[in-house]
Amino acid sequence: MLLEIFDPKARPRPVGIDLGTTNSLVAFVKNERPVAIEDCNGAALLPSVVAYAENGVVVGAGAKARAADHPRDTIVSAKRFMGRGADDAETRRMGPYEFVSPGAGDANVVKFRVGAGTRWERAVTPVEVSAEILRALVRLAEDELSSIGGAVITVPAYFDDAQRQATKDAGKLAGLEVLRLINEPTAAALAYGLEKRKNGTFAVYDLGGGTFDVTILMLEDGVFQVKSTGGDSALGGDDMDRAIAEEVFEQIGDGESAQSAARSTLGDAVARTPALIRVVLDAARAMKHALTESDHAEAQIPTKTGEKNVRIARDRFDALIAPLLERTGLACRRALKDAGLTKEQLDGVILVGGATRVPAVRAFVAKSFGREPLADIDPDQVVALGAAVQADLLAGDGPKDDVLLLDVLPLSLGIEVGGGVVDKILPRNTTIPAAARATYTTQEDKQTGFEIHVVQGEREMVGDNRSLARFTLRGIPPMAAGMAKLEVTFRVNADGMLDVDALETTTGVHQTVLVKPSYGLDDETVEKMLMDALDYGEDDLRLRRLAENRVEAHRLLTATGKAVANDAALLLPGERESIAVAMRALEEAASEEDPAKIHAGIEVLDAASKEFAGRRMNRAIARAIEGRRVDDVELAPNKDRPSSRSVDRSAEGTR
């Protein structure tokens, strides 16, 4: 199995994965077009449901079928719990699950208890549940492709650092090489943009099972640039199901809903057994789907006193979901404002997510943006198709189009300063990769430690934002207050993931501190889960490393060969020869069986071509500045420049 996945002779194909709240799917680029991979029944959507049982794990439709009878052992919508703390309000909000409370000193991670009271009772994290879904997608893809060469996984644009980290961990746990995490709306635009080759400014309205995002993107000269993004990571089609479910409970008279004032949530209801909640939610979802086509829907609900017939008209449904839609409208207005645009300046609105099939949603979007939204690509598939396009650009054999994604940081990053106030270090909507530094000093005489608390969010007070990490920089020599200089550096990579370090500069003592996430799992835990899950022996590990090193060697050889061929003029005398020697040595190492030797060969080639690479980079920069590609960069003073350009206005901060 391992050998098959990493067979060096088969051409690995990169895939795009939409790891959704309700459904997940995998796609790849076939003959320059992205296609979704279907299972043997012709279904591309894999329900994101994982059922745990005594004899193993079931994923997808099979798991979904078990949900009604085994509500606590069947995890639905695990994405909503990704990167969340065990004590988050959202964690407790809904669902039939039994949670394991973290013990003192344990990481504050959500854990579902499955198989409670049985011999196989265990606790699983949302990361492990998601990894099961990814493994099922990998199996599906392997039936179609001989070997998988890395994956691009999509995340909601609004996901914070902890949620992104959890998604990446799930990929790692499933044994995938995660090439990149990309934002779902960006992926959707990529799918549309590539097929239509449009320039313009677009809004992507993405209402999925559990999350809502709106993103304003500009497509210009082949560069997809996110202008702003906003949304709500706890709002989606599931909430529509819940709204219908409340209505259903009212109709079957479960004795709770009637007392309207302090109506309890579904999760708290005593009379509502986990099994009944599941049945009602499934019926609600089916009714929601039916209401897309017809003006009313019905369902039969089995209760203790026999089957009860429930009915809901579309008008009633529309009224029930109107408040949810209004919440999306707020986020849309804010995103436009952040981008410095009015709705009239948009060239189109793209619909993403199964919930956008609901007619009331389409009508709401049309009304809010003053235009009919685009929905030519299946809203359930468009994200995975775009991810496949990006995967192909990153690691495929296809032509490397001049397409580029310039993504932004979705939420501001900052640290806690005196009085519980947040000092923003990187504002939201900063283009990534990004880095920023801030300098602080000691408050008290002889203070030898700094506590650093990293938060993410837009609010002024620490308590209103998401806490990402805390750490203490120690060992500062005692000085008078205000003398020490603490430099904190934030780095955000192209996946939108954060890395923080702190150092005290006056003493010359360089201390870099690794940040341990407040939520989620540390690397060690993920590594251990990976070992447990795959039950690796020493030999398996060596084979895996060998395969990975071969893939890396192959990539580096191809890239270096191309660089030497294309930029021969930049080679110094003798350089071509030394690079060629290193390439031959690496080729030879790759044909043998020793992973360490391949690794050494990679390092030698890297060193041999380092200066040549530096020259190529400098020339690329010079060309970009000369504007050899575009020759209209004018930086002349211009006092009465017309202010019709919205971009200009936003950049100047005009209201």
Partner: protein, 182 residues
């Protein structure tokens, strides 16, 4: 870091931002990590740090306040709220009055009055920017002349903060309206 040099543009306050944005895009196209996914470790590292520098330069240059800060720093002056001279009493008085009027309008949820106030402050903001534009137009300006501009930066900060607050109030009112329908 000199963000103007990084982007290869003239060191001045008055910039054609759409053109600079285009420059940023071209540099990103040349340096983005996606373009170096297959490259060796040292090339990936070098291009990544350059890409970060380009993004940082664009972030600094696109906003008037950070752009002005960079110009002062490059002229050898230390700026930043803790280092700048205290704002004049006149400015403080005017700011207090504006804030009081804003609080009153907020309490009454009077969106028209809020908008009017924002318009006034925005006009002042434009005036401050105009002063910076003129002050930094001459590349060979004397240090004393540049130093005299530092208080304008303080004014700009006041205006920006006020306008941000207005924006937050407007959002809060819109949110409350939606919540009321819920």
């Amino acid at each position: 870091m000199d963000p103007f040099a990084t982007l290869g543009i003239e060191r001045r306050f008055d910039l054609d931002l759409p053109a600079v944005e285009k420059r940023h895009r071209e540099l990103s196209r040349a340096l983005h990590p996606d373009k170096y996914a297959d490259a060796g470790a040292s090339e990936r590292k070098a291009t990544l740090s350059k890409a970060v520098e380009v993004n940082e330069a664009w972030r600094v240059v696109r906003e008037p306040i950070t752009r002005a800060e960079a110009l002062f720093t490059l002229a050898g002056l230390t700026v930043g709220e803790r280092n700048e001279p205290k704002p004049s009493g006149e400015l403080l008085m005017a700011a207090m009055e504006l804030r009081e009027t804003l609080e009153e309008a907020k309490a009454k949820r009077d969106l028209k009055a809020i908008e009017k106030l924002a318009g006034e402050v925005d006009a002042k903001r434009r005036g401050a920017e105009e002063k910076l534009r003129a002050g930094f137009a001459d590349g060979s300006a004397k240090r004393a002349k540049i130093e005299a501009l530092v208080p304008v930066l303080g004014e700009l900060r006041f205006h920006k903060r006020f306008l941000d607050e207005v924006s937050a109030i407007e959002d809060a009112i819109a949110e409350a309206d939606v919540a009321a329908q819920d």
